[in-house]
């Protein structure tokens, strides 16, 4: 498909340098935000707590966008279920945060979270074991999404399910998980999910300090993921992925095991999404099955499409710009947001197949 090829051509020459400078400037600016938050409230450059909280959340969205871009923009795996990996990472950290509440819960039970006491459960189910330890929870936030991606990906890629069928499959995956997590007997708090978190790593949440720490942790994770993605896409593996995206059946005849490469990138991408979810939940203070809703996954794909798939900067640009618009519009005219989102997606698909990044480099020669 020529459209795919065109959409994926990274900007060339000067556009590329501009893009990198903008990116570096934006990241530097982000890094300054928590410091500006410490200024007195009446200072000109003071940044509100709200801004820090919202921007910190956007950074985790940017990691999610990056993970989708790696799978979709480079390897052509259009996952409409990445929200599930994000939510699973969030649930893993949520379980840790719930365990840390301890006897401070409404029912004052020393071990069991409130909802288990409420349901009359006598003891902690086995799959909650170990979550009192932060490193274990963090590991699970990566491992569980990775494992799910491995199983789903293996079944799908081995059977050569591609394109729209794969998208539907991943959409069904996140929908099924949403229904499962809504059930009280799953042991994940049913439709209320987890909330009322108290602390993380000995640090009380909902303080300026915790916000700054989580903000910087998210920014560090974003930079780490960006570095990893840049490393992959600049390597021969990146070129194999592009080849798979553009002519999957052709590269098999060069002796590449497409299933292996797709699995590698899909699992890695799911783990990145899980990490994003793990950083998101302590910042927003809640995780519930709504995070699995298919709409969330689709919205995240829209971010990448708007920014420009097949370029790492595009994923970041899309995540920040669409979410900034969303935050603004949902306060000004909340009833219009979904129409605007749909409209943006249609408009980008029709008029800006290479996304916002494509605007920088209209000649379309690429590379």
């Amino acid at each position: 498909m020529s459209a795919t090829t065109l959409a994926a051509a990274p900007p060339a020459g000067r556009a590329r340098v501009t893009l990198r400078l903008v990116l570096a400037g934006a990241i530097l600016l982000l890094a300054l935000l928590p410091a500006l938050n410490r200024l007195p409230a009446d200072a000109a450059l003071h940044v509100s707590d709200f801004t820090i909280a919202v921007t910190g959340k956007w950074i985790t969205y940017a990691i999610l966008a990056l993970s989708i871009d790696l799978a979709w923009g480079y390897a052509g795996i259009l996952s409409l279920g990445h929200g599930a990996f994000f939510a699973l990472g969030g649930y893993a950290i949520g379980m840790h945060l719930m365990r840390l509440i301890g006897p401070r819960g409404v029912y004052g039970h020393p071990v069991l979270p409130d909802f288990m006491v409420f349901l009359g459960w006598p003891e902690l189910p086995w799959y909650w074991w170990g979550f009192q330890h932060f490193p274990f929870a963090l590991l699970m936030a990566l491992f569980v999404p990775g494992l799910l991606a491995l199983v789903v990906g293996w079944l799908a890629f081995r059977s050569r399910i591609t394109g729209v069928y794969l998208s539907i499959l991943t959409q069904a995956m996140t929908y099924a998980l949403m229904l499962a997590f809504f059930r009280n007997d799953m042991g994940f708090g049913g439709n209320n999910g987890f909330t009322d978190f108290k602390e993380l790593l000995g640090m009380p949440l909902n303080t300026g300090n915790a916000r700054a720490v989580l903000f910087y942790a998210s920014l560090a994770a974003l930079l780490g993921c960006l570095w990893l993605c840049a490393r992959i896409t600049a390597s021969k593996l990146g070129r194999v992925l592009v080849a798979i995206r553009d002519a999957e059946s052709r590269i098999r005849f060069l002796g590449y095991d497409v299933t292996q490469h797709k699995l590698f990138v899909f699992v890695l991408s799911a783990m990145m999404a899980g990490l994003a979810g793990a950083l998101y939940v302590p910042q927003v203070g809640i995780i519930n099955p709504g995070e699995f809703s298919p709409g969330n996954s689709i919205e995240a794909v829209v971010w990448v499409a708007v920014g420009g798939r097949g370029t790492l900067a595009g994923a970041l640009l899309g995540a920040f710009s669409v979410n900034a618009l969303k935050t603004w519009l949902t306060t000004v005219a909340p009833e219009f947001w979904l129409f605007v989102l749909g409209g943006i997606f249609v408009a980008v698909t029709l008029f800006l197949p290479r996304g916002l990044v494509g605007l920088l480099d209209r000649r379309g020669t690429g590379r």
Binding site: S2, T5, A8, A9, R231, I232, S235, K236, L237, R239, V240, V242, A243, D246, A247, S249, R250, I251, R252, F253, L254, G255, Y256, D257, V258, Q260, H261, F264, V265, T365, G366, R367
Partner: protein, 269 residues
């Protein structure tokens, strides 16, 4: 290469059941009694073919004769309904495309499919024989030796000056040569080349014939599927004529052109 048709398999062989007869020691490709049935349509009908080491072979036949299906069967894209397909003594019917490619069977498709988003150099680099797993690809560093091999292939296919260009902007003929170059980078023992000169100018056709003759250098075997009889004549090799999924005739180009059966179904029309 012998001009005689003594090496030709008997025309009317019954389908092989049970254990296959061991192939001759110098056969690189060995097809025996191969049939492919799609919804009752026999794309290949009890086809047998032997390609020897270092041989250049042309396969011709009218549209729908099964030429491309034959390539699909050899490269693992299509499973034969019945019959034996071997590369030396390895059964190809149980392997997938990637495994067969890694054994040393390279394929060039009729429609050139190079990777448009990558440069000519990168296309060749992808094809270069090297570990193919994701981790190895991530750690891959282009060695001086690899660079030399790519440079040599670029020179062979005449695209040295275009090395840094994206494949998307190559001309049709250049894309065909790039594909042949990608085949060479895999260092295969057998090259299957599907209609390499379709849509080429006369000059490009001549260039391609010379390139293919050079490639079949006594070590590599090359099977060329082609419509263009002048091109086949320029190859100067043994010719196999397929018709309705089976072999109709085999021998030199003069032999098959004078074969009354061939004249009837193909050339005479």
């Amino acid at each position: 290469m012998s001009e005689s048709s003594q090496a030709v398999l008997p025309m009317e062989r019954p389908p092989v059941l049970g254990r296959p007869r061991p192939p001759r020691s110098d056969a690189v490709l060995y097809l025996d009694g191969v049939s492919v049935v799609f919804d009752g349509f026999r794309a290949l009908n009890n086809l047998s073919l032997i390609v020897e080491q270092g041989e250049l072979r042309a396969v011709i036949g009218p549209n729908g004769a099964g030429k491309t299906t034959m390539m699909d069967v050899i490269t693992g894209k299509t499973r034969p309904t019945e019959g034996v397909v071997q590369f030396r003594d390895i059964d190809l019917t149980r392997l997938d495309e990637a495994a067969i490619a890694n054994l040393g069977i390279g394929r060039k498709f009729q429609k050139p499919t190079v990777f448009d988003a990558l440069t000519v150099f990168e296309n060749l680099e992808l094809a270069l024989k090297a570990p193919r797993n994701p981790w190895a690809c991530l750690r891959w560093m282009l060695s001086g030796e690899a660079r030399d091999r790519i440079a040599a292939t670029l020179a062979e296919i005449g695209l040295t000056a275009r090395a840094g260009d994206r494949a998307a902007i190559l001309s049709h003929g250049q894309r065909q040569w790039l594909e042949i170059g990608m085949l060479l980078m895999q260092d295969p023992e057998v090259l299957l080349v599907d209609e390499p000169v379709a849509g080429m100018t006369d000059q490009e056709t001549e260039h391609t014939a010379a390139l293919l003759r050079r490639i079949a250098d006594g070590r590599r075997s090359v099977v060329v599927v082609e419509h263009d009889l002048e091109f086949v004549r320029a190859l100067g090799c043994k010719v196999t004529v397929l018709c309705e999924g089976a072999m109709l005739s085999e021998g030199s180009i003069d032999h098959v052109q004078n074969d009354p059966r061939v004249v009837e179904v193909y050339l005479g029309r």
